[in-house]
C-alpha cells in the first residue's frame, strides 16, 4: 500500500520538501542558533551563566510551581472529565465548552485578571487576604495562574479515554461481584492511568514555559517570585545575549525531555486504549 500510494498519488516530493524546508527555516535552524550561541561561552562561563544563585532560585520556582499546579489539576481534571462524560445536567454542554477557555484566552488576559481578582480589594482577595492568603504577587499567585493555564490538559486527555471505556467493562465488574468503589478503584482508574499521567505531563510542560500570565501576577522579585523565562528577558534587556541563550538552553533541554516523555506516554496510552 505504501509504495502504491507514492506511485499513485502525486505531490509527495513537493509536500515533503516544502514541509521540511519551512520547518527547518522557522524552527530547526533558529533553535540550533540558540545552542550555537550558548556554545560560544566556554564550559565555565556557561556554568557561571546558568548556575547562579538567582538562576537556581528561578529554576526551582518554575519547576515547583508547575508541579504544584499540575498536581492540583490531576484530581480536579479527572473529576471534571468524569462529570462531563457520565452525567447529564442542565448546561452540561456549555460547561464542556468553557473548559477550553484557558486554551483560547490570551495568557496576558489571564494574568491581568488573576492579579486583579486576588489583590486586597479584589473580588476574591477581599476574603482571602484577611486570612493571610496572598493570591497575588506571591508564589501562590504563580501556582494559581498556572493551574488555570493547565486546567484543560488533564480533562481533555482523560475525557476521550473515559468515553471509549465500554460500559461492558464496568458491567462485567459488577457481575463479578465488585462494588461501585471497587470497580472505580480496580478497573476504571487503572485504565485511565496512562491518560491521567499524560495530561499531568502536558500541564506540567506548559507551566514550565509559561510567561505571559506569570509576569502579571508574580511581581517578578529576584530570588522570590522570579521564574526562569523572566530571567531570560532580564538578561536580554541587559544585552547579555549569550547568558540569555545559555539559560534558554537549560529550559530547552528541560522542554525536550518533557516532549520525549509525553511522546512515550502517548504511545503508552494508545497501546493501552486498544486490545
Amino acid at each position: 500500500m505504501v509504495d502504491v500510494n507514492r506511485r499513485v498519488l502525486p505531490g509527495f516530493g513537493l509536500s515533503l520538501g516544502y514541509s521540511v524546508f519551512y520547518m527547518s527555516l522557522l524552527v530547526l535552524i533558529p533553535l540550533t542558533a540558540c545552542f550555537l550561541k550558548a556554545s560560544t561561552l566556554g564550559l565555565d562561563e556557561f556554568l557561571a551563566a546558568v548556575w547562579t544563585e538567582r538562576a537556581r532560585a528561578a529554576y526551582g520556582l518554575t519547576i515547583g510551581a508547575s508541579l504544584a499546579a499540575a498536581l492540583i489539576n490531576l484530581p480536579f481534571g479527572v473529576l471534571i472529565a468524569w462529570v462531563l462524560v457520565r452525567y447529564q445536567f442542565p448546561g452540561s454542554r456549555l460547561f464542556d465548552a468553557i473548559i477550553d477557555l484557558p486554551f483560547a484566552l490570551p495568557t496576558a488576559v489571564a494574568g491581568l485578571v488573576y492579579s486583579g481578582l486576588y489583590v486586597k480589594n479584589g473580588w476574591l482577595g477581599q476574603y482571602l487576604v484577611p486570612l493571610g492568603i496572598q493570591g497575588a504577587y506571591s508564589r501562590l499567585a504563580i501556582v494559581l495562574v498556572l493551574t488555570f493555564i493547565g486546567l484543560p490538559f488533564v480533562v481533555r486527555t482523560v475525557q476521550p479515554v473515559l468515553q471509549d471505556l465500554e460500559a461492558e467493562v464496568e458491567e462485567a465488574a459488577a457481575c463479578l461481584g465488585a462494588t461501585r468503589l471497587q470497580t472505580a478503584w480496580r478497573v476504571i482508574l487503572p485504565t485511565l492511568l496512562p491518560a491521567v499521567v499524560t495530561g499531568f505531563a502536558l500541564a506540567f510542560a506548559r507551566g514550565i514555559g509559561e510567561y505571559g500570565s506569570v509576569v502579571f501576577v508574580s511581581g517578578n522579585m529576584p530570588y522570590k517570585t522570579e521564574i526562569a523565562p523572566v530571567l531570560i528577558v532580564a538578561s536580554l534587556e541587559a544585552f547579555q545575549y549569550r547568558q540569555a541563550a545559555a539559560i534558554a538552553v537549560v529550559l530547552l533541554m528541560l522542554s525536550f525531555s518533557m516532549l520525549i516523555v509525553i511522546n512515550l506516554l502517548e504511545r503508552w496510552t494508545k497501546r493501552h486504549a486498544s486490545y
Binding site: 524552527v27 480536579f76 473529576l79 483560547a104 484566552l105 496576558a108 488576559v109 493551574t147 457481575c175
Partner: protein
C-alpha cells in the same frame, strides 16, 4: 456487601446514586467557577464598570490601543496563513505516504509546543538581531526584522506552527486515501485531487485547526514581547498593549483591551463547540441510519404468539403425496403468561433454573419486551434467537440484573431475584466484545471475581489454574488480553464469568465478533464444555445455525415477544407461525385465502386445509421450504403450477433450482436430490410443473 434489595441497587451498575452525582457535579462546577468563570466575568466587569462611553473611549480614542488592534489584525492572519500552507503540505506528506523519518518529522511538529515562548522570541533575536548572524547584513541593507512587524510575524508563526498540521494529520489518516486513489484512476491530477476530493473531506478539520491557530496567534504574548521592542503605536500588539497599560496603572484601558481579546476567545470557543456538535450530530445520524437498516428484517409480516391470538395459528397441510401422520405441536399463547412447551419440559425435571414472569420493558416509546414469560430448565443450554430489535439482548440483560424490567419478575431456582443487583445474583455474564480488563493479565482477569469476594490467595490461584486448564490456556496466565487472539479472549471472558461458580451463565452473542472458522470451533467447544459443567446457561444469537447446533432448547423472539419455544427440531419442523418459518431458513411464500376447508391461491392453485372449515374467506399465507417442492415435466392431477427453469446450481450435496412461476409473478427456489436431478435432466429455459409435497398455511387474522 450491603444487602440493599432495592431497585436502585440493581441499577447501580450503570448509574451512581444521586447524592454522589450531585456532589461530584457541584464540586467540579465550583472548581471551574472559581478558576475560569469568575475571571471571565471579571474581564468584562473591569472593562465596562465605568460605562459604555468610557469603554469606547478606552478602545478607539486611544491611538496606541487602536494601532495595536490593527497591528494584531495584520500579524496574526499572516502567521496563520503561513502555517496553513505548511500544515496542509505536512499533512499530505505524513498522512498519505510512508517514508524514512516520518515518525521523527511527526514528533518534530510538536516541538514549538514544548518551547517556552520567551525562548522562541530569543532565537529570532539571536539570528536577526543587531548582534545576530544576519544583523550586520540587514543593517547594511536597511532592513528591519527585529523590533518590527516581520519579527512579530516570525515569532507568532513559530509559536502557532503545530496547530494546523496537528489537527489535519489525524483527520486525513482517518479518512484514508481510497477516494483520492479512485480520483487518480478516473484521471484527476495533482491539484485537482486535492481541491475536489481531499479539501471537501478535510474542510471542517482544517477550519478547526485555523481557528485554534488564530486564537493563539492573536493572543501570543511571550514570544512577541521579546522581539517587539515595545515601540508604542508601532510594534505593540494587543496583548502587549494590555501589559503596557497595566504597567502604567491604566486599569480601565487594560481591561478594555483585554475584553476584546476575551471576546475573541469566546468566539473561538463557540466555533469550536459548534463544529464539535455538528460532528456529533452527523455521527449520531449515521448510527441511527445503521440501526434502522439493521432492524428492517424484524418488521417482516408474521407476528409472535400473543395473548390476543385466540386460535391456533399453525396448521400443517398434507398434500396427498406426503405422509399424513405428522406430530403437530402447537405453541399455545401464554394465557397466564407462560409458554406451554417450556413449562412442561421444566416441570418434567421438577427443576426450573430461571423463570421470567410477565416481563415488560420499554425504552421511551419503543417496547423492547411485552409481557414475556419463559422458563429455563435447570442445567440446560438455551438459545435466545431472533432478529435484531427483537428484545433478546434486553431479556438477557434483565435476567442478569444489568437492566431492570418495568414490570414482571425474575426467579432463580424458584427464588425471587427481581430486585437483586447483578452482584448479588451471582451470574456469569459473557459480553459480545469480551470486556476484558485490558490492564490486567489473563490470570488477574479470571481472578477478579474471586478477589472482590475475598477468596483466600491460595484458593484463588488453584481455581484460576483449574479454569485455565478448562479453557485450554494453560501457561498463558501472564499474558495481557492484547496478546491473545479473539477466540482466546472470548474463552478468557468465559472463564472469568465461570470463576466464582455462578448459578447461571449468560452469554450475549458470544461468538458475534469472531471470524467464521473460530466461531465454528468455539461453538462446538462451548457445547462440550456445557456437557461437562451443566450450569444453567442462556445465550443470545441471531444466527439460527448457531442456535440449532449448540442449544438444547431454542426460544425464538420477535418484536419483544416470544414466538416459539422448543427443541431445535421442533421449531424447525413445526414452526408455530409464519415468522418462525420465515426466520429459520429459506422458504417460498404464496399469498391467497382460506375458505371452507381449502386454501385457495392465485390461478386455481389449491390445497386442502381442514383446520379452517368456516365459510367466511380469510387471507392466508402458504409457506413451502425448497426441499418440499417437487418438479415434474408433466402437470399432475394434484395442485401444480407452471414454471420455467432459470438457473441450476448443481454444486453441493443437493441441486438448487431457481424457477419463475409467471402466473404468480414470483421466483421459486427448489432443492432436488442429485438422483432426481439426473432423472429429470433439467436445463435452463425448460418449462416444468412444480407442486408442493408439503406446505404450511398460516391464516393471517389468526396470527396478528
Amino acid at each position: 456487601m450491603p444487602a440493599t434489595n432495592s431497585a436502585a441497587a440493581a441499577r447501580r451498575a450503570q448509574v451512581d446514586p444521586a447524592a454522589v452525582r450531585y456532589a461530584l457535579i457541584s464540586t467540579s462546577l465550583l472548581v471551574v467557577g472559581i478558576l475560569v468563570i469568575v475571571p471571565l466575568v471579571y474581564v468584562f466587569y473591569g472593562a465596562l464598570k465605568d460605562g459604555i462611553g468610557a469603554y469606547w473611549n478606552n478602545l478607539f480614542n486611544d491611538p496606541d490601543t487602536l494601532s495595536a488592534i490593527l497591528l494584531t489584525l495584520r500579524v496574526a492572519p499572516t502567521a496563520v496563513a503561513l502555517n496553513i500552507v505548511f500544515g496542509v503540505a505536512a499533512a499530505w506528506a505524513i498522512a498519505r505516504f510512508r517514508f524514512p523519518g516520518r515518525t521523527l518529522l511527526t514528533s518534530l511538529i510538536d516541538l514549538p509546543f514544548a518551547v517556552s515562548p520567551v525562548v522562541a522570541g530569543l532565537i529570532f533575536i539571536l539570528i536577526f538581531g543587531l548582534q545576530g548572524w544576519f544583523g550586520e547584513w540587514l543593517r547594511a541593507h536597511d532592513l528591519k526584522i527585529i523590533f518590527a512587524t516581520p519579527g512579530l510575524i516570525l515569532a507568532t508563526a513559530f509559536v502557532t506552527f503545530p496547530f494546523v498540521a496537528r489537527e489535519l494529520i489525524p483527520v486525513m489518516e482517518a479518512i484514508g486515501s481510497e477516494e483520492e486513489v479512485a480520483a487518480v484512476s478516473l484521471g484527476a491530477r495533482g491539484w485537482q485531487i486535492f481541491r475536489r476530493i481531499s479539501l471537501p473531506n478535510i474542510k471542517w478539520g482544517l477550519l478547526y485547526g485555523i481557528i485554534l491557530c488564530n486564537a493563539r496567534a492573536m493572543g501570543e504574548f511571550g514570544a512577541v514581547y521579546v522581539v517587539s521592542g515595545h515601540i508604542a503605536g508601532q510594534t505593540d500588539t494587543l496583548p502587549l498593549r494590555v501589559e503596557k497599560l497595566f504597567q502604567e496603572y491604566n486599569n480601565a484601558g487594560a481591561y478594555a483591551a483585554a475584553s476584546l481579546l476575551s471576546s475573541l476567545a469566546l468566539v473561538t470557543l463557540s466555533i469550536k463547540t459548534a463544529l464539535e456538535w455538528k460532528n456529533r450530530r452527523e455521527m449520531e445520524a449515521r448510527i441511527r441510519e445503521a440501526t434502522q437498516q439493521d432492524e428492517t428484517p424484524a418488521s417482516s409480516s408474521a407476528a409472535a404468539a400473543s395473548p390476543e391470538a385466540a386460535a391456533p395459528p399453525e396448521a400443517t397441510v398434507e398434500t396427498p403425496a406426503a405422509a399424513p401422520a405428522e406430530r403437530r405441536l402447537r405453541a399455545v399463547p401464554p394465557l397466564d403468561g407462560r409458554d406451554e412447551s417450556g413449562v412442561d419440559r421444566a416441570r418434567e425435571d421438577g427443576h426450573v433454573g430461571i423463570s421470567v414472569r410477565n416481563v415488560t420493558k420499554r425504552f421511551g416509546d419503543f417496547v423492547a419486551l411485552e409481557n414475556v414469560s419463559v422458563e429455563i430448565p435447570h442445567g440446560e443450554l438455551v438459545a435466545l434467537l431472533g432478529p435484531s430489535g427483537s428484545g433478546k439482548t434486553t431479556l438477557l440483560r434483565i435476567v442478569s440484573g444489568l437492566e431492570t424490567a418495568d414490570s414482571g419478575s425474575i426467579l432463580y431456582e424458584e427464588e425471587d431475584a427481581t430486585n437483586r443487583s447483578p452482584r448479588d445474583r451471582n451470574v456469569g455474564f459473557v459480553f459480545q466484545h469480551y470486556a476484558l480488563f485490558r490492564h490486567m493479565t489473563v490470570f488477574e482477569n479470571i481472578a477478579f471475581g474471586l478477589r472482590v469476594r475475598k477468596w483466600k490467595r491460595a484458593d484463588v490461584a488453584e481455581r484460576v489454574h483449574e479454569l485455565l486448564r478448562l479453557i485450554q490456556l494453560d501457561g498463558l496466565g501472564n499474558q495481557l488480553p492484547s496478546q491473545l487472539s479473539g477466540g482466546q479472549r472470548q474463552r478468557v471472558a468465559l472463564a472469568r464469568a465461570l470463576a466464582a461458580q455462578p448459578k447461571v451463565l449468560l452469554l450475549d452473542e458470544p461468538f458475534g465478533a469472531l471470524d467464521a472458522k473460530v466461531r465454528q470451533e468455539l461453538r462446538q467447544w462451548l457445547r462440550r464444555l456445557h456437557d461437562e459443567i451443566h450450569v444453567t446457561s442462556v445465550f443470545v444469537t441471531h444466527d439460527q445455525e448457531e442456535a440449532f447446533e449448540v442449544a438444547d432448547q431454542v426460544v425464538v423472539m420477535n418484536h419483544g415477544r416470544i414466538a416459539q419455544v422448543g427443541t431445535p427440531e421442533e421449531v424447525f419442523e413445526h414452526p408455530a407461525n409464519g415468522f418462525v418459518m420465515d426466520f429459520l431458513g429459506n422458504v417460498n411464500v404464496f399469498h391467497g385465502r382460506v375458505e371452507g376447508g381449502r386454501a385457495l391461491l392465485q390461478n386455481g392453485f389449491e390445497l386442502d386445509y381442514p383446520d379452517y372449515p368456516h365459510g367466511e374467506a380469510k387471507p392466508a399465507t402458504v409457506y413451502v421450504r425448497p426441499h418440499e417442492l417437487e418438479i415434474d415435466r408433466r402437470p399432475s392431477d394434484r395442485a401444480s403450477l407452471a414454471a420455467q427453469v432459470i438457473r441450476i446450481n448443481p454444486a453441493g450435496a443437493a441441486v438448487k433450482v431457481e424457477l419463475a412461476a409467471r402466473d404468480f409473478g414470483l421466483l421459486l427456489n427448489v432443492v432436488l436430490s442429485q438422483e432426481r436431478h439426473a432423472e429429470l435432466g433439467l436445463r435452463a429455459g425448460d418449462a416444468v410443473f412444480v407442486f408442493p409435497k408439503r406446505a404450511r398455511v398460516f391464516v393471517q387474522d389468526y396470527t396478528i
